[in-house]
């Protein structure tokens, strides 16, 4: 079982979206996937996956012994992945207790832990339970700086692997030299980029309705990312924008 924490330091860079989309892609590939929400205070994974109305027990209940782990798992409507939600309870949960809950998920291939923003207790709790880490950043200066700080902190943990995902890349702007390229960001942070996710309106539009369709550029990028994660490869594959057809009179 691979336990992967998805973290960033800065909030709003797309940790939860990456966790949900990557988990769903791996579930589509036939892997048994659990998406665990470690953002205890500001839980959003259930909202992004549309499972919020079906949550009965949460991770805090499992840690407190009020239910069994399988009772807390909620099936994802859009894939075969299961969600381990946190419903606001268990803010005082220790890192050991959280790790115990994650380790009790034995019948799965991947556990993705959605880490809270910041580098306080919640961060420590989430990272302590993981064996690998994915750091999500965007091409903004503040996100890159926070990612660098998080990478420094992660080096103190016993993690087998640390990778980078660059989210919200604008291929048109990078082509014009107006936005940093993903490989430049990866070089700056000294961490290989395994996923480059383009800025995509489909994420905003379809996330409210259910699942982003496969034709969306971001979904294609998530498919490449999922393949990289499953194969443990470090290819920085960027999705190319479709060329605009030139309109002609004849």
């Amino acid at each position: 079982m691979r336990k992967i924490v998805v973290t960033s330091g800065k909030g709003g860079v797309g940790k939860t979206t990456v966790t949900a989309s990557l988990g769903r892609k791996l579930a589509d590939m036939g892997y048994r996937v659990v998406l665990a929400d470690a953002d205890v205070g500001l839980n959003n994974l259930d909202v992004v996956t549309g499972a919020d109305s079906r949550v009965v027990y949460d991770i805090g209940d499992v840690a407190a012994g009020r239910c069994r782990i399988f009772q807390a798992l909620v099936a994802d409507n859009e894939s075969t992945a299961r969600i381990l939600p946190s419903a606001g309870g268990g803010e005082e949960m220790s890192a050991q207790a959280f790790r115990g809950v994650i380790d009790s998920l034995t019948d799965c291939d991947f556990v993705f832990i959605d880490c809270p923003a910041g580098i306080e207790n919640g961060f420590h709790r989430a990272v302590s339970a993981a064996t690998e880490a994915i750091v999500v950043t965007t091409p903004s200066a503040s996100a890159i700086r926070d990612a660098d700080k998080v990478l420094t902190l992660l080096s103190a943990y016993r993690l087998e692997d640390i990778s980078l995902v660059v989210n919200r890349i604008r291929p048109d702007m990078t082509a014009r030299g107006e936005m940093m390229r993903a490989d430049d960001i990866a070089r700056l942070l000294g961490t290989p980029a395994v996923g480059v996710i383009p800025e995509d309106d489909c994420v905003t539009l379809y996330q409210q309705l259910g699942r982003v369709p496969d034709f969306a550029l971001s979904e294609k990028a998530f498919a490449l990312l999922a393949k990289n994660i499953a194969d443990r490869t470090k290819k920085c594959a960027e999705i190319r924008m479709p060329l605009r057809r030139r309109r002609r009179w004849f």
Binding site: P139, A141, I144, R145, D148, K149, T152, T174, R176, G177, E178, M179, M180, R181, D184, L188, L189
Partner: protein, 89 residues
């Protein structure tokens, strides 16, 4: 040649991350550059203010690099050039 915004941003980020790792602020480098410039200015005709880069190595040691450009070495007055002292009779 004018640098593109992405290149400018990369340069800025590089400096910022090095500063973060070194644990020194921008004011520190500016103050150090001013002081080093004053000392070097006694020996050289400096063309511009020296550039000071502070980085931190893998072992945690600080690496300070000073880059200064000068047009000439200042000529010191030796004791032979000084007027001979007047010894009162």
């Amino acid at each position: 040649m004018v640098l593109k915004p992405a290149k400018l941003m990369e340069e800025r980020m590089k400096e910022m991350l090095i500063r973060d790792k070194a644990g020194v602020g921008e004011g520190f480098s500016a103050a150090l550059s001013g002081d080093v410039g004053r000392v070097l200015g006694d020996y050289f005709e400096l063309v511009s203010r020296p550039a000071v880069k502070v980085a931190r190595g893998e072992d945690g040691a600080y690496e300070v690099t000073v880059t200064a450009r000068a047009s000439a070495v200042k000529r010191f007055r030796t004791t032979e050039e000084l007027p001979s002292p007047v010894i009162p009779s």
